[in-house]
């Protein structure tokens, strides 16, 4: 067991585990966000719960952050190592003949997703941290002094999607996420050794997930942009 992260397969396994974890997270993230389309109240309730429940905040959140960092760092480390495994490149290489564009460009889709995540964190997470842990306001209310003012989450969300540039940026980010997932979803299962009679079915699920979830996020962004009341 020692040094498993020093071996190629160990690293691959770790990449896959972090990826699977992140995919579960994205699904969960999506499930809450889509509530905002149907019911601002439900969205507010869920957001408040996630933002204040101790297990989420002090257990899952650090794990998630570590998972994200690990996935990116390992991704870049592996990319450098893999590039070093071929010192001279081909004068002519016909990669599209044997593999998908997505599979060959995970580092690019991943890189753009990283940029997107940084912006996204600045947009929402930094603000949350400020309000909750620096300002010390754990109420989640628009006006902490007025319990009748209601939760602030839905309102903040809608405001964020007002400027067209941000909406556009998010859409591009989700397109890259889709591209990343189109290879990454199946790849994660292959890496943990799951390649069997269910693989065909899994490929179908992979397509639904990889296109469906990012498309859903895009829909949410556009929906709020065009229906926002401010």
């Amino acid at each position: 067991m020692s040094g498993i992260l020093n071996s190629s397969i160990g690293r691959k396994f770790a990449m896959a585990l972090s990826a699977l974890f992140l995919m579960v997270f994205i699904l969960q993230h999506f499930a809450i966000n889509i509530l905002s389309v149907f019911s601002p109240d439900a969205f507010n309730e869920a957001s408040h719960f996630m933002g204040t429940f101790w297990a989420v905040q002090y257990l899952l959140q650090p794990v998630l952050i570590l998972g994200v960092i690990f996935h990116f760092v390992m991704g870049f480390v592996l990319e450098i190592k893999n590039n070093n495994a071929r010192k001279v490149s081909y004068a002519k290489n016909n990669g599209s003949a044997n593999s998908s564009w997505m599979s060959r460009n995970m580092i690019w889709s991943g890189g753009f997703i990283l940029i997107f995540i940084v912006i996204h964190m600045i947009d929402f997470w930094v603000h949350e941290m400020n309000v909750k842990y620096i300002a010390g306001d754990m109420t989640g209310l628009i006006n902490p002094a007025d319990p009748g003012s209601g939760f602030r989450y839905y309102e903040e969300l809608v405001v964020k999607f007002e400027p067209i540039w941000r909406v556009a940026l998010y859409c591009v980010g989700f397109v890259f996420l889709a591209l990343h997932l189109l290879h990454g979803f199946g790849s994660a299962f292959q890496s943990i050794g799951a390649n069997n009679k269910y693989t065909k079915a899994l490929q179908g699920i992979s397509k639904v997930y990889s296109i469906g979830i990012p498309a859903g996020f895009i829909f949410i962004a556009l929906y709020h942009h065009f229906t926002g009341t401010h």
């Binding site: 067991m1 498993i4 071996s7 190629s8 397969i9 160990g10 690293r11 691959k12 396994f13 592996l78 190592k81 893999n82 070093n84 495994a85 071929r86 010192k87 001279v88 490149s89 081909y90 004068a91 002519k92 290489n93 016909n94 990669g95 003949a97 044997n98 593999s99 998908s100 599979s103 060959r104 995970m106 290879h183 199946g186 790849s187 292959q190 890496s191 943990i192 050794g193 799951a194 390649n195 069997n196």
Partner: protein, 248 residues
């Protein structure tokens, strides 16, 4: 048909190489790719030039010697064939054909299109065997029945010819398809179970030490493999490796 060939020429392991253009005329569509190179070489020899060096031996797709990266693909555009079985009918009059050696740090060029694949041998030395003496005093061959599906799958994995097309095609120069084929063959047979733990650990460690890249599951190896070795083998090797890691 008439063709333009762009061929990698490199005098020796430490020399600098470059792509050189050659013109070849009257190529018959029934020729194999290597026979076309034979014709080029005889022309070069008669002209007083040095012939192009390339590995080849059986010319029927089983020895695994031939190893050309043709127009950006290992063993060229045809599927499930080695370079020696690739026929010129797959090309058109007037085509320009790029011919390069396998490129990987673990496969250094020896000369022109010839690379050193001894890293593959060293991986096999590390564990590609069942430790049974060849005395012949083993048990009767039929004493352990083996489920046909497993025997067939073991055979499919065992058909790997060790040509290195998987490494050459992989954007990461990963050797996992090659290694997993051997690991799978033994993992599927009762005879291979005894040493399963050590085998997979030793072979993977050696693979890493040789400087091959990591697998990112692009699947290029499976597509370009002249024997159609399946990615399932890599998944099986991953399982075997994890099992072995936890076993210690």
């Amino acid at each position: 048909m008439n063709l333009t060939l762009k061929i990698w020429r490199q005098k020796g392991a430490n020399a600098k190489g470059k792509m050189v253009d050659y013109q070849i005329n009257d190529v018959s569509p029934d020729m194999s790719f290597l026979e076309m190179l034979d014709v080029l070489n005889s022309e070069l020899i008669i002209k007083g030039d040095e012939p192009v060096a390339f590995d080849h031996d059986c010319r029927e797709g089983i020895c695994g010697s031939c190893s050309l990266y043709i127009n950006g693909e290992a063993h060229g555009p045809d599927r499930l064939v080695t370079t020696c079985q690739l026929h010129m009918r797959k090309f058109k009059d007037g085509d320009t054909i790029y011919i390069e050696p396998w490129r990987a740090k673990a496969f250094p060029v020896i000369k022109d299109l010839i690379v050193d694949r001894s890293s593959f041998d060293r991986i096999q030395h590390a564990g590609g065997f069942v430790s049974v003496n060849t005395s012949g005093n083993t048990q009767d061959a039929n004493s352990i029945p083996i489920e046909k599906a497993n025997a067939d799958a073991a055979f499919d994995a065992a058909t790997c010819i060790g040509c290195g097309a998987c490494v050459a095609s992989c954007k990461n120069s990963s050797a996992m398809l090659f290694v997993s084929a051997k690991v799978s063959q033994f993992a599927l047979l009762p005879q291979g179970q005894v040493e399963a733990t050590d085998r997979v650990m030793n072979m993977v460690n050696q693979m890493d030490a040789e400087g091959f890249g990591n697998c990112t599951n692009t699947g290029a190896c499976e597509v370009e493999c002249p024997k159609g070795i399946s990615l399932e083998n890599i998944a099986r090797m991953n399982r075997e490796y994890l099992k072995a890691s936890f076993k210690g």
